[in-house]
Subunit: 279 residues, 2 copies
Amino acid sequence: ENQETHNNQGRSKFMDFPFVSSAQKNLMVDLVSTLENRFHTQLLPCTLPSDVQYYQSQTATAQASLHIRAAHNDSPIDFVLGSWVHSELPTGGSLDITSLSAYLNSSTDAPNFVFEMIRSSPTMLLLILDLPPRKDLVLWPDDLKTFYEDTQLDKHRQTLERVPEVQPYFSSSLYIRTVSSPTAIMVRVLTENGGVERMEEIIRDHLDPISKQVLGIWLDHCACAKREVGEAERAYLKKRDGLIRNKTIEIDLGSSFPRLFGPEVANRVLEAIKEYFTV
Amino acid sequence: ENQETHNNQGRSKFMDFPFVSSAQKNLMVDLVSTLENRFHTQLLPCTLPSDVQYYQSQTATAQASLHIRAAHNDSPIDFVLGSWVHSELPTGGSLDITSLSAYLNSSTDAPNFVFEMIRSSPTMLLLILDLPPRKDLVLWPDDLKTFYEDTQLDKHRQTLERVPEVQPYFSSSLYIRTVSSPTAIMVRVLTENGGVERMEEIIRDHLDPISKQVLGIWLDHCACAKREVGEAERAYLKKRDGLIRNKTIEIDLGSSFPRLFGPEVANRVLEAIKEYFTV
């Protein structure tokens, strides 16, 4: 019962998204719920230690919630990871990151799901929304067709591109560009003129429906697709997945986490995450 | 001697770039010369039939020049391909494409070189400038470091991005996006306000130096790099190169060529190109 109480507390804290606007919170809660409801019977509860489900820096200027759910052995899902990070900035503002990603296991070769919103000011937001391929699409053009062309994924990127405040965003990490798909949505939203109200409007009217549609494509055409994966291909997927996960930890978490939370906390969280990221 | 005369005529016609502005012609001639001079002793003369080195549509509304030079067996170069295409548009304007690409053979795993300018109006230009990788950079992160990070290739993309008339361009072909590198320069230049003079200025002051610098990186750090390629890797390169070349013909040439030049001419040219594109 103690374990259950602790899990429920961790989960409430995660789903609370206490530092982001109502439009962003609504979107996050919707995405997490949609994904969890679809795999309801397959997902296990989050069993991270409580000081990893919620953690903060020594001076409490940075705090974060992390929620990882593994799946039953017969599920195509390896694990689902959700998180938020809030950090006060020396400039007076704050940095807020909310993310949701889903990693498939090597019983399927379908793409993963990645969603991340990074807000470093009330009028600036980065969105990364992608179904990163798990195979080299140059060598597997049929997969390009199945997962990216036939699903008309690019339509959603094009729709978003037409919003005047939205500009393509190029990650400074070439590795992040390399692992992304040809239909990856990587955009910077700037509402300096319209202010925080316009940002809220863009999240509600554009980012929200587009993100849900892309998640829908992933659920219907990737996560739930029946795929035949042979022995050799399974080994290939394990190798490629493993490389990507290691690099993701290294780039995404390894560098910014110690800076935000101090080496001790960062290390504790990274060790807990690594257990899931090992293929 | 007849053969030599015919080759010289084909070459003059190619290097003449008769339909593009002086800034664009200067840039093309410089790029072709720089590449050819570096591999002077390795490149063979162009031996394409004269009706492939220069060809036109039945009504002469479209004309084109094609120049392909293979290399000696001990060269890392497989072949160098240069071309221009000029086509009158029903709207009264014209479509002009000038391109230069260099394909390496499987004695090296270094990236290829691709340069293409597509101009469908005096104030609109697409530029594709890339060193497309020949291996899956996710599986070979060392290659990402060697060819793309250590060479600071992205600096040039960033420089160009700061020109106000320059916008990122997303090819409608997901395959073209897939084969491109993480530092690919794919941009649309629009000078509706500044007109054709401003376009000329942008080509001369921005596209020209950047293109030369990227070619310089390719020559120094890719084409001339000493690389160890084992048996298995060579087979991998042949397979991947072969797939890319087939798709390139299919997408880039297969669809637009018959439309511009009619099926008979298009077929003659494609058959000649295929000989080089077969790995």
